[in-house]
């Protein structure tokens, strides 16, 4: 009886968006008298940081500072339609819709500015909340003043509409081929584990991953998804089960004392690197990097257990009981 070490590897290609009956998201952008832009979305921020990245995308597309953008999310009664915040699709879909809406709003902004500044709209540019005549930087006007002129002098709304639709892809009856997603992100994870052959206990020592996620709008938030997903993936592998004796419902957990998730003391050593190969259809080259982060750790850990003790436990979670039963079955072969 001893503690055995093993290393396992697993890779994933993860889709952004779904096929559904078509997969659209809409956005509305409009300018307040203060020069602040409101972005109205039904998509929601559930902690992944959607409000932040949509704010960044809108600010970039409009040419205004991040502080001049207010992102209003999550009310499906009052916001334009969205299929939902799932399938790692929100930054891709809502981001594209917001760029389209912001582009339309910016066009009106420049038309209003052109009248105020006595210049052609195509000769104007917006940067950091200032509209200026290209090549003549001393001729500038703030977005705030342009917004005031639009509201109270010219009587115009500086606003824009946006939608991103991935049309439904039919399945080819001959080949079964289909184009169900918009883009795919990629990851490979290496897991190092220790398996105690006396107790069946598995300890994850290290998870190291290489990600390719398209353009990162907010690298610190991408890192947050990757770190959180690594620990959640480890927990799915070793700890978590809603019905441990399914289809029997016995011993199903009813509280946090029974449904065990990792605490701050259960962390493996975590490493990752991120590569950026921008997608052709995402906003600024974005791909989805949400759900994928909890995927590759699972097969990597299962493979590492096999490397350590020569058994494949393919039913999750890999509890000490299952490891011991698999080891016993192997001995009896």
């Amino acid at each position: 009886m001893s503690v055995m070490r093993g290393r396992g590897i697993a890779s994933a290609n993860y889709p952004t968006g779904m096929n559904l009956g078509g997969d659209p998201t809409q956005a509305l952008v409009f300018c307040q008298p203060t020069g602040t832009f409101s972005v109205k979305l039904a998509s929601t921020d559930l902690g992944q940081g959607l409000k932040t990245v949509i704010g960044q995308i809108a600010a970039e597309a409009l040419g205004v500072p991040l502080e001049s953008v207010v992102v209003d999310t999550g009310d499906t009664d009052s916001a334009p339609h969205d299929m939902g915040t799932f399938a790692s699709r929100a930054t891709h879909r809502a981001g594209n819709a917001v760029i389209m809406a912001a582009t339309e709003a910016k066009k009106v902004l420049l038309e209003v500015a052109a009248e105020e500044m006595e210049a052609a709209p195509e000769d104007l540019e917006v940067r950091d909340g200032q509209v200026s005549v290209k090549g003549t930087p001393q001729r500038t006007m703030s977005v705030f003043d342009i917004a005031l002129a639009a509201h109270f002098k010219q009587g115009r709304t500086i606003s824009g509409r946006g939608i991103y639709l991935k049309p439904k892809s039919a399945i080819d009856p001959e080949t079964g081929a289909c184009d169900p997603d918009s883009t795919e992100a990629h990851v490979t994870t290496v897991a190092d584990v220790e398996v105690d052959t006396e107790t069946g206990e598995v300890t994850v020592l290290r998870l190291a991953s290489a990600y390719e996620v398209g353009r990162q709008v907010n690298p610190q938030m991408v890192q947050g998804q990757i770190t959180g997903g690594a620990v959640m993936g480890m927990a799915h592998t070793l700890m978590e089960s809603v019905f441990p004796y399914y289809p029997a419902l016995d011993h199903h957990p009813g509280n946090f004392g029974e449904y065990v998730i990792p605490t701050a003391v259960d962390l493996p050593e975590l490493h990752h690197v991120v590569l950026e190969y921008p997608s052709s259809n995402g906003p600024y080259g974005v791909k989805g990097v949400g759900e994928m982060t909890a995927n590759s750790p699972i097969p990597a850990i299962v493979n590492a257990i096999h490397d350590a003790v020569g058994v494949f436990v393919t039913e999750l979670p890999v509890t000490p009981e299952k490891v011991l039963r698999a080891l016993r079955a192997k001995e009896q072969l």
Binding site: G47, G228, V231, F256, T263, V265, L267
Partner: protein, 165 residues
């Protein structure tokens, strides 16, 4: 005729000021904070002492406010997240949590900061392992804990350099 529930008047120091609540028996401290005193930083999570999201300080000791009948805090001192800092007067822990993106959904955050405050009050220069142990009663589903631990390490450094608390 319906039986009228007895009520209790409980007076205690809350974030340095005297407060009183009139409550039914066995009302928890968490319910009194959130529903009677409208202090919503303290979160209602599992209600069974399993998640740590309702963590507050009672006479400078960590308690799970969902397990404390508010009548037991009569004459004592309670500190919630609102009491250690807020907009415009952030505690170094709150600044560090912000800078390290140590919150995603934010549901555990108030409890995490209270547990960290308890630790740093007793041990201003903790090791990483000591920080991890201090957080062991507080569950987080989003972050994988790493940015939270790094934020607490950073806050300890900021506070030891004499940043005003």
């Amino acid at each position: 005729m319906a039986t009228q529930l007895a009520t209790h008047i409980v007076t205690f120091q809350l974030n340095g000021r005297p407060h009183a609540v009139t409550v039914a028996p066995l009302t928890t401290l968490r319910t009194a904070l959130r529903e009677d005193l409208h202090l919503h930083a303290t979160k209602a999570g599992c209600g069974q002492g399993g998640c740590g999201s309702c963590t507050v300080l009672l006479d400078n000791e960590l308690v799970l406010s969902c397990l404390v009948p508010v009548t037991l805090v009569d004459g004592r001192s309670v500190t919630t997240l609102e009491g250690i800092g807020g907009p415009g007067r952030l505690h170094p822990l709150q600044e560090a949590f912000h800078d390290h993106f140590a919150a995603q959904c934010g549901y555990c955050t108030a409890g995490m900061i209270m547990a960290a405050k308890w630790l740093l009050d007793r041990n201003p220069n903790p090791t990483r392992a000591e920080i991890q142990m201090a957080l062991a009663g507080n569950l987080c589903r989003c972050t994988g804990y790493v940015p939270i631990i790094e934020a607490i390490e950073d806050a300890a450094r900021r506070m030891s350099k004499g940043v005003k608390r």
